[in-house]
């Protein structure tokens, strides 16, 4: 391996990558490290710079500053057609005048592979995505799901070192998307390629990726496994962006190595770990809706117990969501799994309810 930078590790590295369009900074000082064989997701809302970052990796955009290292080689100056990287486009970008077979063979022909090897490889790819019977069809004669599989087969045909997926399921309808997610992951894992994907859909990122980078305004806010991102967000933006969360602002009032107390507008909240901060510093307590218990009867708990009035109930089938209004007029979102057919059936609008959570469940956010 031709390792130019001995300090770095990881198969794909971006070092202080910056991309400026006129006076807009699309990618702002992004340094990420991606391991060989992992599926890495760039997650963020539109305009957060994730697509620009992907286009820099593909070579369609030149970074204003910073380096991109693939397997130790700085590829920032390489043209797209010189990179061992292939991309599956959001629109699939299948060549409309070529049939499925020719689309998949396109990249192989460009690298001058002999005809019989091309045939073997294309047949292999068609088999992988189960489209052998459709080899002679033109792209417009295929369904959205089939087009997506052709696009995948085409981007995998050259055995790229890195596969880029741009909103891989964005063009499919919801039902098809769920099925395709697992299919896509299975195919990618059977090939064993390293993947960087871009998505605005957190569910898609969480089910497909081994690690996620949450991006906003061109910056990477947090990198972690889906579980880390969800359970341990490091700041308000990440906590708020991924799933639903209740945020309570307050000040640190007690801080011991194994516990702390935070005084909020609702009262004192107890946390089962220390913060190591200064007494009186502003903090936010973040609690996921599904971590909160709800009941009409006063439970036998001492701390983190609050009460309010039910304002809204939404039934989602597998779970129900309650919006509870507290004394100061603010609301808390609580979800309860409908594990039993008759669960929570007694809670209705305008009911006075108690809600509480375990000391280990909240996340304390300092920023």
């Amino acid at each position: 391996m031709n390792q130019l930078d001995p300090n770095s590790s990881g198969f794909l590295l971006t070092e202080s990558l910056v991309k400026r369009f006129d006076d807009v900074v699309a990618v702002d000082d992004v340094s990420i490290s991606i391991q060989k064989g992992e599926i890495f997701a760039l997650l963020g809302s539109s305009g957060c710079g994730k697509s620009t970052l992907l286009r820099i990796l593909a070579g369609f955009e030149k970074p204003t500053a910073g380096r991109v290292l693939l397997d130790g080689v700085d590829i920032a100056s390489f043209h797209p057609y010189e990179r061992p990287i292939n991309m599956m486009f959001q629109s699939y970008a299948l060549f409309p005048h070529l049939n499925v077979w020719e689309n998949i063979a396109f990249g192989l022909k460009r690298e001058g592979m002999p005809g019989d090897q091309i045939r073997t490889r294309v047949d292999e790819m068609l088999n992988l995505v189960q489209l052998t019977a459709y080899a002679k069809r033109k792209p417009h004669q295929l369904s959205g799901g089939q087009q997506q599989r052709v696009a995948l087969a085409r981007s995998l045909a050259k055995k790229p070192q890195l596969l880029l997926l741009d909103e891989p399921l964005g063009a499919l309808d919801k039902k098809l998307r769920q099925r395709t997610q697992f299919e896509l992951v299975n195919i990618i894992e059977s090939v064993g390629v390293t993947v960087v994907m871009v998505t605005h859909d957190q569910e898609e990122a969480m089910t497909m990726a081994s690690r996620i980078a949450v991006m906003s305004h061109g910056r990477v806010l947090q990198v972690g496994t889906p579980k880390e991102i969800y359970e341990c967000p490091i700041n308000r933006f990440v906590a708020d962006f991924i799933g639903n969360i209740n945020l309570f602002d307050g000040q640190l009032s007690v801080d011991e190595p194994d516990r702390c107390e935070i005084t909020t507008g609702l009262g004192v909240m107890h946390i089962a770990h220390g913060i190591g901060g200064a007494i009186g510093m502003p903090l936010a307590v973040a609690v996921r809706p599904e971590k909160i218990y709800i009941s009409k009867k006063l439970p036998d708990v001492g701390v983190n117990l609050f009460s309010g009035k039910v304002r809204e109930i939404a039934y989602f089938g597998s779970y129900s969501s309650f919006i509870v209004e507290m004394a100061d007029g603010r609301t808390v979102v609580i979800t309860e799994a409908n594990s039993s057919r008759l669960a929570n059936i007694d809670i209705t609008w305008e009911d006075r309810v108690f809600f509480w959570w375990d000391e280990i469940d909240p996340v304390v956010l300092t920023q």
């Binding site: 797209p80 057609y81 990287i85 970008a93 060549f95 990249g107 033109k138 004669q141 981007s155």
Partner: protein
């Protein structure tokens, strides 16, 4: 369209489709039939320009169709009086016309393609302005624009004077009344007809396809030949037809800019009509020219339709 389909169409649709059909019937089919009818008769007797179709011969009415006019296009007497095929001034004029029309088409394609590509890839906000520039010459009379080329290309014209002044030339270059002036004039006049359909197809093309091609290892040149050109084929064909067909029968430009040795068929038809007063032969020449154009178009339309139908399956 067959009649069964026609009868199922609603009145509004029939009207919309019917108006252009009627237009073409009155102003293309009927005149063409008149032309056909003239082409199969003899020359007139000095009063009428052509002989009537229906003649009373020996007391009975007969329709007489003459094919001599067509024959004379392909056959003429040589010095010894023997009939010789293929070596007639008419065929020569046809071949000259096809040659100039082809050259003009090729020149327009080479000049127009980069231009259309450039407009299609320009910012959306400046595209209308660029298209306006393409169409700007139409605001001036066609005749004036062709005349202007005389002033530019003449021995004492703008180009020659400039090159002489620069010292590149010692004596004026002969450009007017040569192939150069003909092709310059025709290319200049017909280039917009190439650019506009090319632009129309190129602007619809998804340029992400080129990124996809680059991504799969195609160099910019390869991507152009393998993706852009095949996808703009419809525009290339439409533009080429729009240039080739009017060029074939072009009369004004060869008259103003062309030399005596490059006689195109438009000029020959004119001469037969107004100098020789031989309307039937002029008509026959025109009919053959229409066939020249219609046959390749029909073949293309037939195979094009067949291919599209196959693609739909």
């Amino acid at each position: 369209m067959n009649l069964e389909k026609w009868s199922h169409l609603r009145l509004g649709k029939r009207f919309v489709i019917g108006v252009p059909f009627v237009w073409l019937l009155i102003f293309f089919v009927v005149p063409f039939l008149i032309l056909l009818r003239i082409s199969v008769t003899d020359m007139g007797n000095g009063v009428d320009p052509f002989a009537p179709l229906l003649q009373a011969i020996d007391g009975s009415w007969r329709i007489t169709l003459k094919y001599q006019n067509y024959l004379s296009i392909f056959e003429q007497a040589d010095k010894d009086g023997a009939m010789v095929w293929w070596d007639t001034i008419y065929l020569e004029a046809y071949i000259t016309s096809v040659k100039y029309a082809l050259w003009t088409t090729v020149l327009c394609l080479f000049l127009g393609y980069p231009f259309a590509y450039f407009i299609a890839r320009a910012k959306k906000s400046i595209q209308p302005a660029l298209l306006m520039l393409v169409m700007l010459p139409f605001w001036t009379s066609f005749l004036l624009r062709v005349y202007a080329w005389k002033g530019i290309l003449a021995d004492q014209g703008v180009v020659n004077n400039f090159l002489l002044w620069l010292g590149i030339l010692q004596e004026p270059l002969l450009m007017l009344y040569t192939d150069i002036s003909m092709l310059v004039g025709m290319t200049y006049v017909y280039c917009p007809f190439m650019i506009l359909p090319l632009y129309a197809t190129l602007v619809k093309m998804d340029f992400r396809l080129l990124e996809a091609a680059h991504d799969l290892g195609a160099s910019p040149w390869n991507a152009f030949w393998l993706i852009t050109v095949p996808l703009s084929k419809a525009g290339i064909i439409a533009g080429s037809m729009l240039v080739f067909i009017p060029c074939l029968g072009e009369f004004v430009i060869p008259s103003l800019l062309g030399g005596a040795e490059n006689i195109m068929i438009g000029r020959v038809v004119w001469d037969e009509m107004f100098s020789s007063n031989n309307w039937p032969r002029a008509a026959a020449l025109a009919v053959v020219m229409v066939l020249f154009i219609l046959v390749p178009m029909a073949i293309y339309a037939h195979y094009g339709a067949e291919r599209d139908a196959m693609a739909e399956d």
